[in-house]
Amino acid sequence: MANWDLSQDPLVALRQGDPGPFEDFVRSHTRTLFLFFRRLGAGFHRAEDLTQETFLKLHAGAHHYAPRERFGAFCFRVARNVWIDQRRHQGARPRELSFGSEGLGEATRPDGRVEEISSGWGGGPRPLRDPLAQASLGEQDLRLRAAVAELGRSHRRVFEFAVLEELSYPEIASILEIPVGTVKSRMFHAVRKLRAILNPDRAGTGEERDV
């Protein structure tokens, strides 16, 4: 049962002949989606294309759209599918690694399945500001990135959606098509493991397992 305001749903409004909410949504979320694709590992121009394609898909599907979740979550689900489609289209082409060197983005496995390996943490070389501060921050960032990279794929995705995209548990459940309870469990184990990695002297509770 939907417990949000359907009148604010851009596609519902669009279907009723009012393009205003959709245009507002485009203006407010273009940057969000663009950064989402950048965090997944897309280059600048590809991220633009993917952002546009996501909105085109939303617009084209307005006539068949049935609101079952918050529009933001639906939009992210479409964006995620656009990303997966794009990776499939690329096939065996070299991966685009514009977002750091830890193997961001997704990889096409030998069996043809697309595997998400996004860690979404930061970009490539950063401009140097205060060298000391930069060094300190850089070390912390690297430790955090390394810790996230150690998470299992399913845990990492939940953590990224919750922390990077700031999505609610129900929205994450909707995007990943898993129960909310599973989201809670995965987030719990992901945070525990990260804490254990980042604070090894207080470790002992980080029994992460894939759920």
Binding site: T30, H89, G123, V163, K184, S185, V191
Partner: protein, 341 residues
């Protein structure tokens, strides 16, 4: 139990949009969760800071972002629905397909190459198959549709309205069939006038037939080559030339009647060198006479059916000509091949 409370704590800390003040404070005050709460908060703060830094570096500049928004809106809610918009949409689709598919790019490139090469190879093939001839050839007309062909003047005099006799109908039909065949017969690329000047008479006569098919009969006035015809084959060929002229011009050449007379009188019974005429020569001679008979230019012998009159340039005529000329290589010009086949 502790895990459940910690799970709830993490959920509340991760939920940036919710109002969970009381519950969060209660969980934080739990001595078992105090340490976990601090570490989790620190982790989340650090993670969000890293994300914010990354976003700041990766975000498009405002101008670029506005252009992207405009592009998206132009492709969605503000899409141009005129033909220009349709064309842009089609172009975008095609470009997108080409960008995604290497195979499609290869196919398109191959198609372009083939299309560019087609005129060249087409010309080459046509030249190989037959000499290229510019101009319009008469469309092949089914035999049943020949009623529309103009009736020759001579036939018009014979066929009196309402009193059409079977014989005049046969003549008319024979002329139509002959005209149909001649209209579809391709003129040959005959030698030049200089070459013809020294060529044997048979060659000159055959060239004249070809010249007539190419439209030469329109200004054909009855050349005198035939007057030199002395042997039977030459006279037969001369008769064929005149018969073609009659069919195409509907005027009886003055030289035709005496020539037919000579042929019919049996002067061909023996060749000039005294040898027996070959069966192929006899075939050619009878063919010419039968044509004349079918066109009403010569009195048909009893029992002769003009409907079965030989058509000009039929295959057996060419073969008979070939056999007749077997021992005369100077007359067996290669340009006659299309007629012999």
């Amino acid at each position: 139990m502790k895990n459940a409370r910690e799970q709830r704590l993490i959920e509340l800390l991760a939920d940036t949009g919710g109002e969970h003040g009381d519950e969060l404070a209660l969980l934080r005050s739990d001595t078992d969760l105090k340490e976990a709460a601090c570490e989790t908060e620190e982790l989340l703060v650090r993670a969000r800071r890293v994300r914010a830094e990354a976003d700041a570096e990766n975000a498009p500049n405002p101008v670029r972002e506005r252009l992207l928004v405009d592009r998206i809106l132009a492709a969605t809610t503000r899409e141009d629905l005129t033909w220009r918009g349709e064309w842009r949409l089609l172009r975008r689709f095609v470009v997108g397909r080409f960008a995604h598919s290497t195979a499609l790019r290869w196919v398109a490139a191959s198609l372009v190459v083939h299309l560019l090469a087609l005129p060249f190879f087409g010309t080459e093939i046509l030249e190989f198959v037959r000499p290229l001839r510019l101009g319009f050839e008469p469309a092949p007309v089914p035999f049943e549709e020949l009623e529309e062909v103009e009736t020759p003047a001579l036939v018009a005099e014979v066929v009196v309205e309402g009193l059409e006799s079977p014989a005049s109908a046969s003549i008319e039909n024979a002329l139509r069939r002959a005209r149909y065949v001649l209209s579809r017969t391709r003129p040959l690329a005959v030698p030049s006038a200089d070459e013809l000047e020294t060529a044997p008479l048979e060659i000159r006569l055959l060239a004249e037939r070809s010249h007539g098919l190419g439209g030469g009969y329109a200004d054909w006035v009855g050349k005198s080559e035939g007057l030199e015809a002395v042997d039977t084959l030459q006279q037969v060929l001369w008769a064929e030339v005149l018969l073609d002229g009659y069919v195409l011009r509907t005027e009886q050449p003055a030289a035709l009647a005496p020539l037919l007379g000579r042929l019919a009188m049996g002067s061909f019974g023996r060749q000039e060198n005294g040898s027996e005429p070959t069966s192929s020569l006899v075939f050619l001679l009878e063919g010419a006479l039968e044509r004349a008979c079918a066109y009403g230019l010569w009195e048909a012998p009893p029992g002769f059916d003009p409907e079965t009159a030989p058509l000009p340039f039929r295959g057996d005529w060419g073969r008979a000509l070939d056999e007749t000329l077997e021992n005369r290589p100077e007359v067996r010009a290669p340009w006659l091949d299309p007629w012999r086949q």
